[in-house]
Assembly symmetry: D2
Amino acid sequence: MARTSFLGDLLTSLTKTRWPLGGGGDRRSIEDLCRALLSTAGEVSGLRLSATILARYKQMNTADRLAFFKFLNDKLDVDAGRVAGLAQAYSEDPSTENFTALVRAAEPRRQELFRRLHEMPAATAELVSARVDLLELLKEHPELKRTDLDLVHLLRSWFNRGFLRIEQIDWHTSATLLEKIVAYEAVHEIHDWDDLRRRLHPTDRRCFAFFHPAMPDEPLIFVEVALTKGVPNSIQGLLAEDREALAAEEANTAVFYSISNCQKGLKGISFGNFLIKQVVAELSQELPGLNTFVTLSPIPGLNRWLETLDGDKRAERLLAGKASDTEAMALAARYLLEARRPDGFPRDPVARFHLGNGAIVHDVHAGADTSANGMAQSSGLMVNYLYDLGQTEKNHEAFTADKKIASSRGVRAKSRAEKAAPAAPATPLLAPAEADAK
Amino acid sequence: MARTSFLGDLLTSLTKTRWPLGGGGDRRSIEDLCRALLSTAGEVSGLRLSATILARYKQMNTADRLAFFKFLNDKLDVDAGRVAGLAQAYSEDPSTENFTALVRAAEPRRQELFRRLHEMPAATAELVSARVDLLELLKEHPELKRTDLDLVHLLRSWFNRGFLRIEQIDWHTSATLLEKIVAYEAVHEIHDWDDLRRRLHPTDRRCFAFFHPAMPDEPLIFVEVALTKGVPNSIQGLLAEDREALAAEEANTAVFYSISNCQKGLKGISFGNFLIKQVVAELSQELPGLNTFVTLSPIPGLNRWLETLDGDKRAERLLAGKASDTEAMALAARYLLEARRPDGFPRDPVARFHLGNGAIVHDVHAGADTSANGMAQSSGLMVNYLYDLGQTEKNHEAFTADKKIASSRGVRAKSRAEKAAPAAPATPLLAPAEADAK
Amino acid sequence: MARTSFLGDLLTSLTKTRWPLGGGGDRRSIEDLCRALLSTAGEVSGLRLSATILARYKQMNTADRLAFFKFLNDKLDVDAGRVAGLAQAYSEDPSTENFTALVRAAEPRRQELFRRLHEMPAATAELVSARVDLLELLKEHPELKRTDLDLVHLLRSWFNRGFLRIEQIDWHTSATLLEKIVAYEAVHEIHDWDDLRRRLHPTDRRCFAFFHPAMPDEPLIFVEVALTKGVPNSIQGLLAEDREALAAEEANTAVFYSISNCQKGLKGISFGNFLIKQVVAELSQELPGLNTFVTLSPIPGLNRWLETLDGDKRAERLLAGKASDTEAMALAARYLLEARRPDGFPRDPVARFHLGNGAIVHDVHAGADTSANGMAQSSGLMVNYLYDLGQTEKNHEAFTADKKIASSRGVRAKSRAEKAAPAAPATPLLAPAEADAK
Amino acid sequence: MARTSFLGDLLTSLTKTRWPLGGGGDRRSIEDLCRALLSTAGEVSGLRLSATILARYKQMNTADRLAFFKFLNDKLDVDAGRVAGLAQAYSEDPSTENFTALVRAAEPRRQELFRRLHEMPAATAELVSARVDLLELLKEHPELKRTDLDLVHLLRSWFNRGFLRIEQIDWHTSATLLEKIVAYEAVHEIHDWDDLRRRLHPTDRRCFAFFHPAMPDEPLIFVEVALTKGVPNSIQGLLAEDREALAAEEANTAVFYSISNCQKGLKGISFGNFLIKQVVAELSQELPGLNTFVTLSPIPGLNRWLETLDGDKRAERLLAGKASDTEAMALAARYLLEARRPDGFPRDPVARFHLGNGAIVHDVHAGADTSANGMAQSSGLMVNYLYDLGQTEKNHEAFTADKKIASSRGVRAKSRAEKAAPAAPATPLLAPAEADAK
């Protein structure tokens, strides 16, 4: 029987005799508490200090948090002069002592601080939450980036992929967790419990999430899957309230129609690639009748790109809602296959994600997302990316090394149709305005 | 439902199309594989390389492993010259770019290699196991210490205390796990399943272990506890086959009579202090009648110390098995309270552990361990260390800062009795021969 | 690992080779199938027949079901003449053979049929569901009562209290189960998931249900509990959307404000008494600060009784919504303490339940349920029944044996106040019209 | 979370205030307690009485238990005279009232007593245990058979097959349960934990058991399975300590080599047939490579039958250990195919079990069980029964209806070889001495 609460109970019993958590009784400044934590050798006194610091942090307002992160950034930084000297010494005498001294000095002291704070039982979630604050502060205070780099470095280690477990989310899942699925869904909003039930409960729906053992009630990322006959061409059809569910065994296609990252504080630590591939492996095993794994994805950058095509009649027609489906799909195909950032990678962020995972651009559909958002960002167009696990590694390598965009014959034909048409003037395929965007 | 095996299945399905795990098909050297792993950006190709490297490592003989660790130690070290330059640059311009460059360069590249290997699902246990090999090699090749420092640095982060969970081991535990308790018991050997049953099943016995989520079938450390009336004075009495079990509610004392670290590969990463304190907290909650928490511990260094007391008649009598109990206990008390290493900390390693945790020397007993090993190492004497959670932090600090050994009045009286006696010549309380032992 | 599905899988594999379940292939009549099931000795052929009969039953319309139950009632009845002869034989020679023959003959054959059908893995729920049909048919066909008695006899054995387990229902419960709580709530309707959350999630709310191992997804009965300071006097206050939740440790009172039986097919098999008492025991253990356990219950028969009080001015005022609170409560107290059925037990069915469990009438409140239903049935009045586990057995016995209604001094005073008042004419306290109601 | 202990806690809290369990305080005789239990309507007073009766029963010696069962047998029997009258009345007027009166009177009152006792949470195991006593007493007091029939009737209902769950027993099973496997193994003794490990842990071994939800720590029956290539011909080979384990996927045959009923108190309630068939279904699903399911069974009645063959030279040679393997197998085949009881069913009890399940006699082997017991009962011969799920129902029906013994061509050939030989005199194939054995 697991008894994870005991560490917390213990801490309470060990510390309450001295002063309450939250540091009401400990009059030292947060800076002094951090320095004390870095210098103590006692495990229990360390835990007590960590608890005090984390409790104090939670009560801080934005200004205090900024001051705290500036302290970490400036006062708990590396001592570069000292590092230079120790590096010199090590290069002259590569002894263990010189190595140890160099390595210790070269690690910013805030890293050790984060590590010690992290020994508190519930600290994982609290440090992830603190990073949300830090990311917010970074917008105005880019110099804090150093501290963020250190925190990400540690989070990446703690959220090591080997630690994650995948779980199926369905109608047997607890309400506590289902509430979070509703809250975290980032692509196609879940309006209420009835809507949620339509996403999870029918025989032709699946949902999978990654969890970390130290945050068992918090999904890191989840993907919603529809099982279909054939590749679907609109999100409205897929999510229609009155549709008939398919028996899972009759499906030949699994459609990843929504992938949501749940933890802002883990920005930059990617789980999506692996989640998709594990779900492909899992579904293949459970349902041998499945032979096609595709997404039904938004094209978030399409309209903005169309706007850059000054004087392109078809682009204007599409933006005006007057293009034919054929024209629309041809433009979308061209955008996905050819519109690039200055660094040579695709303009479209969703395309970069799936192509980087080794998927291919499989098909485009007009009138596929007629919601307000779908019309505004992509004139109602959507795209299928196809995952063929036997090809993803090869595709990934060609994409990463040579920026090669893998695509189906059909999509290429649609794109060529567009180019073959006479109307288009010379247009910049690279959007200079987005050159420094990531 | 957790589906941890899928990552493994996925890997198999992703990689088997190219070449078998174990690298039979990949003709590159292990060094090239490591360099490839460090340079790939692909998650899946990274996993495949990791799997190949770990499989190859497992098949290596000792000479190959030595060569592998030397490669890590020498070729994947820090480039000290480069670090010196980057540190200089950062001290002149503390920009994020300079910081990033410095921090990346100052981390030995083998750390990133270990981190990438660790992303494989089962890699945690394999890296712990690799460290067992490394520790063995270190004896003859102390220069590999650098690599060991890096590996420990990472293991400490992965075995972060906040990730551990405590579990009770009892007769409802699986045979798989119980087998490991038998194998890992390091203090008082468990002879067979009947013996194990006597340790776990009676109403007055408890056992608790720490586990890490990535190694769910492997205990990290466990402690065996006896519930008693009064503080026991011998291990024979405690473990007698024919004793009558006490109802747990009738006990007033919990005795920690055996603590075993299970993972050699985690040497230097200590879990014992916290395990003991959590168990104290847990048992206090379950059994409010408990008011005393003590160990019944060996005194492994006693006889060796007695041998250093040249010409001390009582020491000679004790070594010869002819001392009275009073004499024996007086010598043991004196050893525990006064015999120091050159660094001022106690000579006895078990004493250093418990005193470092904030326990006190509570009592000593003659004839307490009459096994061959007990007679050989400590002439049959044992010691109780007492844990009073309200005092441990204060004791710990006094011990750490001032090398102060906390003890009971009774033990001090026994020790004084010894000193008051006339027979002892001047003897070295510090054992020079052990000066560099840890 | 439990593998309850295997029996089903096995059945499928054993039977599909012959003919499909549902009996499409088996042309025999349902009567012949039942006779075949009663005569087969083969376990597997028995299971196949059971599966066929149950599947056939599910597809029947009401007329067919009536015919089926008539068949059970008439053709699978006891052969009374034969029983008379065998009883005679046994009274003359009480041999084992005579005993066996008598006992077998005296059991209606449909009991053995039900038992054999019940050996199918999922049959428990199906037989409970068949009894729902039977209860409906009984209204028009009271002669089927014999069959119902036999079915209840068996259900009582299968739903033996020792088999039930209690579970807490909270926000960690699965959506599948929570949906059923919404559907089965019979006292105060749960409007949507937000409403459900307010019943289950706050720190001062609890819900417990009984389950049977053969119907793990179906609650048998559940009770909703509010933790309060002091005894509450209205359901509106208790369920107010904007109320502040209390920390559970601060509560001194547990209020059972809704008890719902979930399975119509188990009518007549009572679980409520024990559920309440187990919850009292459980909450007492979890929250030692609780010292009062009461219900906040409807008074469903109040208005109908008031209507029988021809010419009673206060009753008329209360029915007209013009009574003072004092008048209203006095009438309610009098109703609860004095209004009786012809058999001498209380008129009010909810009162009969709680008094039969050994609770006492503790207090009455005016304006306590101002919902349309609350006004219609009891002019807005509600009652607290108090459970004092030390007294329930004694109260139960006095109630059962002597029809004594235990009550608090306060309620008796309110009731006396009513009687002391001059206005009331002689009124019938026993309602003849309800004489044969149970 | 299940909280099965609460009912017990509740009971304690409800009853301890009056008198201690065990009935030290209740001076009534066990007979009076039983009568009180039958007459009480109170659920809690009923439970208290049940607890007292069961506690009192446990403390009884054999004489007291005999008296108790005699009381049940004689005083709580059916009143046959009354039944005769009520049957007469019902045959004249089949009203519900007459039906109810008849059915109630025709059920021995001890049945209701057992049912009420059974409402205690832990009573299931206690009643099973009481039946062990009753079976023992029956040997000397056959008149108690009536009470046994009633108890079996109820146990059969409570141990309804739909309630059972199958679980795999392996090295991840708790020591508590494994101990019971060792204790209950009835066919091939398990000598110690090492032996147990060899039965459960290798890749080519499986063990499955049935459990009842009210006795979760008590297996009802278990079967041990070996996965092999080809049908094995000796138990020594199958259980050899030094054999090499086979990868499960490489096996084509599953061998049921030991089936043990665990609960003497459930004698006469058979679980073996279904356990075997569920395990066949389960293993077929897990390991599609399996195409043969056989037993390796003892032939317990062989030697006793041989002894009845007066003057048969081959029988004498076999009993003297001097027969050739061919002779031995021919005799065993003839015994299995032809030796019958007076009722026409096979002499051999194990043969009756497997043939009754629809298996066939597949092969016989000489030198297959050379243990002392194997030599003593069957001169070292063993038999394979083969389960072909597509045929078992047909075989079962032919066996039950026509006493037809299904067998393989090979076994029939061996048997014919024996008969063709000249030496045998006319021998009785039916053993009169066993005529009334079951």
